[in-house]
């Protein structure tokens, strides 16, 4: 691997994203979404206050809205990451652009890592800006500041990077459209696996939990999503939950009883690194 070659490809990727206006489109969409969220939350809070609702209940309600907003962002981020990364290698192989580049003294690993790094920077920046703006806007119009906004933003970024890595790695062997579609479906399956595993616990179908956990943990995005939710919930929601059947709340995909664990973070990093290495190896052996 050559740091020089990886840097060249990374910078090329950043220039491509900027030159093709993708960066500006993403930024514009974020700003529009954040303004929309701000307007909706302002209306909700105004109606609640005029109905005489107390601030604690309003905060609880706004926190749920914020979790839904984060849910929407996590899907938008995952899809953006998948459709940005899937053609990064696959599209260049199909068009023949890579033939001339790989005839230069760079390795295929340099190319994949450079592409990955450039796309990670773009996606992480997009996730960071979107997350901070959404949380900041809600705090501004409602006064509700979640307990761990940085953890929420970090987990959102992690979800996007995991999906991006999968799409890029699949794109080293599969056509772009297949790589993108599989990545989005895998993201959805992980989330769905999390819901089903929790529901199996609620319905006393514990025997099913290991196989559903396999679905849930096959991609670390559900673990990261639970991390987002927990970081956005007010402590009051957790207090209320403790007085009720915890299994009922565990089945709710918009509720998390505990913060993201170190094991979950380690698994997310290991999974992403493993998929990236698999992508590098797959591309190194590919016939062009």
């Amino acid at each position: 691997m050559s740091v020089r070659a990886v840097t060249i490809i990374c910078v090329l990727t950043l220039r491509e994203v900027a030159r093709r206006r993708l960066l500006w489109v993403l930024l514009g969409l974020s700003i529009v979404s954040v303004i929309l969220v701000g307007w909706v939350v302002t209306q909700l809070v105004d109606y609640a206050r005029s109905a005489g609702m107390n601030e604690v209940r309003i905060g609880l309600g706004v926190s749920q809205v914020l979790v839904f907003v984060a849910f929407m962002f996590s899907f938008v981020l995952a899809m953006s990451a998948a459709f940005l990364a899937a053609p990064a290698i696959a599209g260049d192989v199909e068009s023949g652009t890579l033939l001339a580049m790989l005839a230069r003294p760079i390795s295929r690993a340099d190319l994949v890592l450079g592409r990955w790094l450039g796309l990670c920077l773009v996606t992480a920046a997009y996730a960071f800006v979107s997350g901070v703006l959404a949380i900041g806007m809600v705090a501004l119009v409602s006064g509700y500041m979640p307990p761990d906004p940085w953890i929420a933003v970090g987990c959102l970024m992690g979800e996007a990077l995991a999906t991006l890595t999968l799409a890029l790695a699949l794109g080293t062997r599969l056509p772009a459209i297949a790589a993108g579609a599989i990545s989005v479906v895998a993201f959805g399956m992980s989330w769905f696996g999390g819901v089903l595993a929790s529901a199996a616990g609620l319905l006393r179908a514990e025997a099913l939990v290991p196989s559903l956990d396999f679905l849930r943990l096959g991609m670390p995005t559900d673990l990261l999503w639970r991390g987002v939710v927990h970081a956005l919930e007010p402590p009051l929601a957790l207090l209320v939950a403790r007085g009720l059947d915890p299994r009922g709340f565990a089945a709710d995909p918009f509720f998390a009883q505990s913060a993201i664990s170190l094991e979950a973070i380690a698994w997310s990093i290991a999974w992403t690194a493993g998929v990236l290495v698999a992508g590098v190896l797959a591309f190194s052996r590919r016939e062009l």
Partner: protein, 310 residues
Amino acid sequence: MQTSGLRKLYGSQVALESLDLVVRPGQVVGLLGPNGAGKTTAVKLLMGLSRPTAGSGTLLGQPLGDRLARRSVGYLPELFRYPQWLTANEVMRLHCQLAGLPRRSWPGWTDQALTTVGLRPRARDRVGTFSKGMQQRLGLGLALLGDPQLIILDEPTSALDPVGRDDVRTIIRAARARGASVILNSHLLGEVERLCDEVIIIHRGRVIAAGGLRALLGAPSLRLRLSGVRDAVSLLGRFAPVTLEGDQVVLQPMEPEWTPDVVAAVVAAGGRVHAVEPQQRSLEDLYLELVRSGVTEATESFRLPRPTAQ
């Protein structure tokens, strides 16, 4: 550059049977063959874009596929495409970077390459606005960047007009003159005949003829129709071996520059010359003959001794 028994299978399909190739500095080698013969497979194996099933080779002293082997190689792929959102100048600079050329030399190399391929006036235009022929010119310029020791051109004139084709011939001759080796993969037999020192003809993955152009095409001959000459064999035997074919006399092998001397000798002996026809088998004749005939039988008889690598 040297390869030995380079073989490539795609599943059970033989894409390339066994390629033995030696390219010396300053030599232009032509790869010929019908569509699907294995020419592009051979080029991709040389460039490390594909891995051989068997056999080996070296490129500029490094094993095929090694990153360092590509330090001084220029390559124009058959499927040429460059980032459409970059300008011609930017594509050149990108390849200067990828080739590891010193930064201060980039403007000079870029200018030189764009000027050579006639794209300097369009240097600041995006590649996406270029015609196919202009994109092929750009690819040719990239293959020349930094004066590489080996230039591999896969169908370099497929999208070019006649002026562009002539430019390519000039470029290849200039590269040879500065001591670079060129591997030219082309369907255009006339082009190959004019430019190449050696030719390799591939058919169905097998090398069916390889060697120097002159050796492959055989020696030229002179066919004459004469009258008033009693003993043509003894009269003209001093120029070349003579064969009589009806009223015609054939001298072979014979250098074409002796033709006026032959005619003068006939006239001096009191004979009359009705027709003079210098003959040389063309590459096209050989190619069609080989490809259309029983290729299997031809393989050994047309395989010439290989020169040794320097």
